[in-house]
Point group: C2
Chain length 673, copies 2
């Protein structure tokens, strides 16, 4: 297996002959179209590319669109002839990414396996949503994100441009939206135009989201007239669902939104506009007398109906822009045109609610990168799995030993998803299709600096789920390739995870002696960090605490938990060693186990004035105790205090937890049995 | 002179050889383009046309536009060969109108003078504005108006679609505007599309006007949210300036107006949209606290500044529609883009205010057909006359003996025009150009049935002013041709003034015996009817009476004053006879004078139960007295009671006055001298 090419996403067909060739870098022989786009891309990737011929049948239009042909055939023969054939420029771009992954660049040449690869994507919509509202992401960050996306064949960058905490789109019709609502942190028009152009050069669509009618606190600080009540507001710094909502009964709202969306459409050429539509809290609507009168007059029974009215009315107004609308699954309603695409997020079942009502669907329910989940969890969500299989995948999270510390939260999530309903029963429409999926990174706890690691630690796995065949499901194989591919991102983009980690730890004063501890730490999962204990307890208890959360937009994100990767691949390796009985091997004992025993001493010996974060001490002590336990377990007996030791090491500390704990628990259980 | 062709507007060059030919009707020989438009027009005019050849160089686009080439050359040779040559279809259409006017259709053939005519218009913008808001004009009425317009080479039909009393545009975004604001009397989309298509077939542009921000009472009955105050309104039935105004401080108003104007633009393809802008009364703005706050914040000093803000903001919003804006002269302000065209109406000087500030201008100040003026008055206003000459023309109205009965009103008008000012002094722009002019028919006192007569009695004279050379100014010649051309309208359109008059008088129970009286009656001039005595007295006194006017939208317009032509050409002829000393001719005495003497008797002998209107009696008695006076004057002596007789006959009765009175006064004065 290891000798197989480290490709991700895995292609449709890979035939390797067994041999390898070394091919010098060199010019491209253009057998077909040599568009400026392709010339630029070949030039950019030049250090990673062997001499090759490219046979591209047709030049592509200026911008990619949904459903573009992206297939290609890549052929490396035993004589070192490399040939890439594709019907479109998009296919060539995808083939070039594969070729870079296929090669091992040396000083003089590129080593390549002799291989024939035929490839094409499973889904036409393979996206990443970046929330640039909660924390603003400078345009350069998005540029390097695009380049890394191209490397794993993602083709949609969805920008969540507005939210309660910030408005990042440079409206000139409503200039106070970015200036006041965005506190001056917003994109400039040429920046966005440049981003769209760069994305098109990489075969990536850019879809802008202006989230309405909820998530608009930032708007209302700038233009209270958008609101259904006259409350003066400050731009919000807190997280969680806000009450602010646009006034759907104001007939003038819709042309105004058209004006705004038209400015958006003038900059983003993609055929889709995202209108958000999630988490409309509803109390402003319930409390407004004019709105209740309006609902009465229009025979609108409830807030869901009012939201449906809003969506219908807005869609009608936006038809002048000649775009298709995409929105979060809250908007599902039989009154809505079936040209609207639903982005499914409130549990995997929302996919079926969308499809049954005739809406095409983009699946995101399993792909929230802000939950700090391991890659295999996301990888397990197949956008086209049967309802039962999806449901089982979701249910399995609750039993996942790695998520024990957030089990109550996961149970709540499941109840939340079960309670969600969307409007009337399906009418006689053909069911919708699954267009693909989108990973989402909500940035309450993500700054510009932290973004790369939060995305790229897991995103290649989701990219594979969306591109590769449904039966590509071997997790070990996926992780092996993920590690390689994530490591190579720095060859083709500004994303350099290793360098980030090195610098971030150094800044925290954590020197390499702590590596054994860092190897087994991960941030807590799900929304545990975001909610904090009080808000989590309240939520599980059935209500929300608006003000009791530990983080706001101004909380510094510079602790150990912020800089550690969401998933620790070294910890995963140790778990696998333990599971496969390496506990007794000398190498494991002298390596891992001894290092754990050292840790507490290291902490105690720490010279006064050292900068190492305080949270290291207690965690080191826990790990030391686990090392002692392990020592005893390796002798084949379970010590009396095993349960107590495990108990003491469990639970989270400083929003971190020790990832080997569930495995040790399993070992103890097995030996006890 | 009489033998000259009865053409109107008079062409640029007419060379008549003196002879005439009779040419059979027959097919057209197409030497150039034979577009569907031309084929249809030739077919329609067929009974009026001789066999001819048409040499049209190029096919025109679907719709005419400002500045289209409209020249042509028409050649009738001594052998009866008729040839029409034009570079464009528009020129062919104009040439066909000339050819119809040139010919005298007989049973078998058409008699034509041998002639060479070379022609082209002086101004590219030659329009008629019809107010379809005060009284709704069904679409058929507009169709026959178009056909008659083509006959005198007018090329713009401007529809004043909205006003306080009615909203006639079928908005689907704001359906209550026509339904409630128009009380259900509005055009259907296919009707408007058909009208635009028909107009294009005749080389006529159709310009829609949606009048904002004043004149919107009808809107606010349907959508109070457009207003700056929350006053529930009824659609207005009264006339005069209303207080209702849109709320310029509502940022949402502008996108909403764009939505409305976009619907308008979707139906009217012309490059211009008329946004009204006249007579913003201002008290609603002054009285609104939020508006005053807004003005304060924006440093807008007064209502004029606020109107300028509104126009600027609206123009900016409408730029998406890619149309040019035209508006009434109130909008002149240096802050406004000089792409806006100004329609000058508040006195002839408004033309120069527009030009000096760099705006192109459409001149209407001299062309208000609702003032019941004689044709020569309109004819005297040259859109490109010097400021001094225009001013003199306007001032001369006050001294015009035919307008003595409204002298105070005219003096007020002049003060009104002198008080009008427009914004800041000119900035460094090139002066604007005069594009042409538009006759306007405001329809407070005009129903569908009355429209033709109110327009066509004088409009051909204005059409000539706009098409023909500036030195075509002979009024007697104009009147001679006007009478002929107006009489021939029924040959080429549904406009049939003679038939209307006959039927209208019959319906009033007025039989031909009354002709001598009717021959010397005219409706009172200026706004005398509209204001009534109380409101006129108040106005002259410096204030307006909102409620004291004699007419509303529901007042029946079925009295003698309504059906008599605004200008009485027969009365004009009698005046000329009197002026030229025909007083002593036997024919005049046995004809005109005797008939006057008969009138009072006719009235007294009227059988009980006759339907003839009561106003005939007193007028007949006055005329009889004038007949007696005339009898004496014809003897060369001025009777003692001359002054008393004239005094008794002067003044208006039932909104009518006797048009020979000023002439008799002059005769008496001359004999007394």
């Amino acid at each position: 297996m290891h000798s197989e090419p480290q490709l991700m996403p895995w292609p449709r067909q890979v035939a390797v002959a067994g041999g390898a060739v070394r091919v010098a870098r060199g010019d491209v022989t253009w057998l077909g179209t040599d568009s400026p786009r392709l010339l630029a891309e070949v030039d950019r990737l030049q250090p990673q590319l062997p001499a090759l011929s490219i046979d591209c049948a047709t030049a592509a239009p200026a911008y990619p669109q949904l459903g573009d042909e992206e297939g290609y055939r890549l052929d490396v023969d035993a004589k070192g002839a490399v040939r890439l054939v594709a019907p479109t420029e998009w296919g060539v771009l995808r083939g070039l990414a594969t070729l870079v992954q296929l090669g091992r660049p040396g000083a003089q040449d590129i080593e390549l396996p002799v291989a024939v690869i035929e490839d094409a994507p499973r889904f036409p919509w393979r996206g990443l949503m970046v929330d640039v509202a909660r924390h603003f992401m400078p345009i350069d960050t998005l540029h390097r994100t695009l380049e890394a996306m191209a490397f794993v064949k993602l083709n949609v960058l969805h920008l969540h441009l507005t939210d309660d905490q910030g408005f990042r789109f440079p409206s000139s019709a409503y200039p106070k939206l970015p200036e006041i609502g965005g506190r001056g942190e917003f994109y400039r028009i040429p920046e966005l135009e440049g981003l769209v152009a760069r994305a098109a050069g990489l075969g990536i669509r850019v879809i802008p989201e202006i989230d309405v009618p909820g998530h608009v606190t930032s708007w209302l600080t700038a233009y209270p007239e958008f609101a259904s009540r006259d409350t003066p507001l400050q731009p919000s710094e807190r997280f969680g669902v806000h009450e602010a909502a646009l006034d759907p009964a104001n007939e003038f709202l819709y042309p105004a939104l058209e004006t705004l969306f038209r400015e958006v459409a003038a900059i983003f050429p993609d055929a889709f506009l995202h209108i958000g539509g999630d988490e409309v809290e509803g109390s402003w609507w319930r409390d407004s007398l004019p709105i209740r009168r309006f609902m009465n007059k229009q025979a609108i029974p409830d807030n869901a109906g009012l939201h449906a009215h809003f969506n219908q009315r807005l869609s009608k107004q936006l038809r002048w822009l000649r775009r298709r609308v995409i929105a979060w699954d809250e908007v599902i309603d039989s009154s809505l045109s079936d040209r609207v695409v639903i982005q499914s997020w409130r549990g995997a079942r929302s996919r079926d609610r969308a499809l049954q009502q005739g809406f095409d669907c983009v699946f995101s329910a399993g792909y929230y990168l802000d939950l700090f989940y391991p890659a295999d969890i996301h990888y397990g969500f197949d956008p086209e799995a049967t309802s039962e299989a999806l449901d089982a995948t979701e249910r399995a999270l609750i039993e996942d030993p790695r998520l024990t510390h957030v089990r109550k939260g996961l149970q709540w999530s499941r109840r939340f998803a079960e309670k969600t309903r969307n409007g009337a029963p399906p009418r006689g429409r053909d069911p919708g299709r699954v267009l693909g999926g989108e990973a989402c990174i909500w940035t309450e706890l993500v700054t510009d600096e932290l973004l790369d690691q939060r995305i790229w630690s897991r995103l290649p796995a989701i990219a594979e789920r969306l591109w590769s065949a449904a039966d590509v499901t071997d997790c070990d194989d996926m992780y092996r390739r993920l590690e390689t591919v994530a490591g190579r991102l720095s060859d083709v983009s500004g994303v350099d995870l290793a360098s980030f980690q090195r610098k971030a730890l150094a800044r925290l004063g954590i020197d390499p002696v702590w590596t054994p501890l860092l190897d087994v730490l991960e941030p807590v999962k799900w929304y545990a960090r975001l909610l904090g204990e009080a808000a989590l307890a309240a939520r599980v208890d059935g209500h929300e605490l608006a003000e009791g959360r530990p983080y706001t937009t101004t909380t510094p994100l510079d602790r150990l938990v912020d800089v550690l990767p969401p998933e620790n691949l070294r910890g995963r390796a140790i778990n696998r060693q333990l599971d496969s009985g390496e506990l007794r091997s000398g190498e494991f004992r002298s390596g891992t186990m001894d290092s754990w025993a050292e840790l507490a001493r290291t902490w105690q010996d720490l010279p006064a004035g050292e900068l190492a974060p305080a949270e290291l001490g207690p965690l080191a002590e826990r790990l030391r105790a686990l090392g002692v336990l392990l020592e005893k377990l390796s002798g084949g007996s379970v010590p009396e205090d095993a349960r107590a030791t495990l108990e003491a090491a469990s639970g989270t500390h400083a929003e971190l937890y020790i990832v080997v704990l569930p495995t040790l628990q399993r070992l103890v259980d097995a030996l006890n049995a």
